[in-house]
Symmetry: C2
Subunit: 356 residues, 2 copies
Amino acid sequence: MMKKSLGRIAECVEKRIAEDTFPDGIKPDYLMDAVRDYPMRGGKRLRPALVFWCGTLFDEQAEPRLLYPAAAVEIFHNWTLVHDDIIDRDDFRRREPACHVKLSEALQPLVPDRAERRRMGEGFAMLAGDLQHAWAMDMMRRSGEHGVAPKAVSGLIANMIRLGSHELISGEALDMELSLREVESIRPEEADAMIDLKTGALLQLAAETGAMAALQTGDVRAPEVAGIGRFALHCGRAFQMQDDLLGIFGSTPKLGKPIGNDLREAKRTPLLLTAFQKLSPAGRNALKNLLHRENYTPEMLDAARRLITECGAASAIEKRIADSAEECMAELNAFPDNNARKILTEFTAYLACRDS
Amino acid sequence: MMKKSLGRIAECVEKRIAEDTFPDGIKPDYLMDAVRDYPMRGGKRLRPALVFWCGTLFDEQAEPRLLYPAAAVEIFHNWTLVHDDIIDRDDFRRREPACHVKLSEALQPLVPDRAERRRMGEGFAMLAGDLQHAWAMDMMRRSGEHGVAPKAVSGLIANMIRLGSHELISGEALDMELSLREVESIRPEEADAMIDLKTGALLQLAAETGAMAALQTGDVRAPEVAGIGRFALHCGRAFQMQDDLLGIFGSTPKLGKPIGNDLREAKRTPLLLTAFQKLSPAGRNALKNLLHRENYTPEMLDAARRLITECGAASAIEKRIADSAEECMAELNAFPDNNARKILTEFTAYLACRDS
C-alpha cells in the first residue's frame, strides 16, 4: 500500500516541480538547469510523501492543498544536498555527477584549468543551492494561493525556517565539526544530537507541514502537530541508524554506493562511536586501523564487521532502531485509524528494516 | 540632512539586528557568531535607509513598521556578501577578515593543515550565509507581527525572493561568467545588464519594500511602488558606475582598499569595456598589458588612467552617471514633496559624486 501511494505522490510532486516557472529566467542557462537538476532527479521522495500522509491522517480531503507544501519540502531537501555535496566533496548524487561536478563540466569551454574549473563549479553550485533555497520558500508561500489558509501559511514558512534552516544547518555544521575531531574523543550522544538536527528536523518539518496544512493552522504547538512531529523525529532516528548499519553491513549493488565509504571517512555514526565505546583497547586499535583506507578488500570489511558486531555495538543499534520504531507506533496510535495511519505504520516498519 | 538621518537609521537597524534572537541556538558557537558578524559590522547601511526613506516618502507616520523590513533587507544584503566573498576569494570585508577567513581561524585547534582549514572555513561560511538567508526571510515574515498588514507581508516576501534571490543571484552568476570570458569579447551592454541584476535589484528591493510596507500593499505593480522601484534601479546604475570610476581614479586611503584591484582582476565594468571599445588597437594592447599585474606602481596607474581618460571612456561613464541621476530626479519629482523626498534628492546627488 505504501509503495503504491509513494509512487503516486512522487509523480504528482515531480509534475508540480517540473511545471513550476520559478527557475525560468535564471541566468546563465546552465545555472537554471542546475536549479532544476536535483529536484528532478528522483530519489525516494519520502519527505513529500510524509507531507501527504501526515496531512491526510488528519483530513482525508486535504490532498489538493498538500501539493505545494510537499513540493516545497522536497525542494528544500534538495538545496541542502547541493551545499552538502560541495562541503563533503561528494562527486556523485543518485548515481549521477553531483551538481558542482556538472556545473564544472559546463564551464569546460570557458575555464581550461581543471582546478580552477572545479572551484568555479563549486561557486556556481553554491548559487544554485541558494536559488533552490529561495524556490522552496516561494513554493511554500504560494501554497496560500492553492488552498492553504493565509494564517497557516505564515506558520508554515516560520516552521520551514526553524526546522529546515536553523536546525538542519546546525546539524550539518555539527556533522562537519565531528568529522574534524578524533573519533575516540566523541561520545555517541553527540552523534545522536547531530542526527536529530541533520536528519530528524527535515522529517519533522515534512510531517508538521502536512498536519498544519491539513488542519489549516499555523500553530506548531497544536497537539496533533506536536504529536506527528515527535513521530517524525523518531522516524529520523530509526532511518539514520538503519542507514548507518547499511553503510557497514549493506550490499554495494543495492545501495548504489560502495560499502567502505563510511569506514574510509570514519563517519561519526552512533554505530561506530558505540563500537569504540564498547571495544577493548586492542579491539579499538584494530578498528581504528581499518579506518581511512584507500580501498577496502572483502577481508577488511569482514574484519570491521566482526569487530563492530562482536563488541555488541551492532545489536545495540538494532535495539535502538526497534525502540525508535516503537516510539513511532505509540505516537501514531494516539490518532484515529484511517488509510493514512495504515501507510504510516507500514512506513515505520520499512524504515526499521529496509535494505537500500 | 541625509547624513543625520542615515546615522539615526543605522543605529535603529543595528539595535534591531543585535537584539534579534534568530541566531540564538545555532551550533557550533563559532557558526552563531559568524551569522551575527557581517550584519553587525556596520557599513554604510544605505539599503535599510532606502527602506525608511522610500517608506516615509508615502506615509510620514510609517516609520515604526519599517524597522523589520529594513533589517530584513540589510541581513539579506549581508548573506550575499558572505557567499560572494567565498566565490571571489575576497579575504577582507570592511577592513576586517572575511567571514570564511574568521571561521577558518576558529578551526585552528581542530584542523592543523592550512589548506584544509581554509576549505572548511569556506564550508562553514557557506552555511553562515544560508542561515542569514533564512534569517532575512524570517525577519521579513515577522514584520507582520510589527505593524505590516498580513496581505502586504506575503507580497514583501515574494518580492524579496524575486529581486533578492532570483535576480541578484543571476547577477552574481553573470558576473562570474563575465570574469571568465576574454575582456575584449564582452560588450559594455552585457556589463550593464549584470549591474542591474547584481546591484540594482537589491536597491530596488529596498525601495519597493519601503513603499509597500508604508502603503500596506502586497502589489508591486501599484504605481507608487513601480515608480520608486525605477528610481532605485537608476540609483543602482549611478552607484555602481561611480564605484567603478573610484576603483580606477579614487584614492586608496578614502576607499579603504588598494586602487589597482580592479585592474588586477580586470573587473568587467562598463568603464573598462567602454575603454576597450573606444581605444585604438595600439591603445587596447597597452591597456591589456596593464591588467592582471601583481603590483601597481603610481606610473602604471597613471598610464591606465590616461588611456581610459583620453579615449573618452571616463567622460562617457561620467555622462551616464549624470543621466542616471537625472532619471532618478524625474521619478522622484512625480511624488509629492516632503522631508523624505528632500533626503532622496540629496541621496541621488551623493551617489553621483561621492569619493568613497
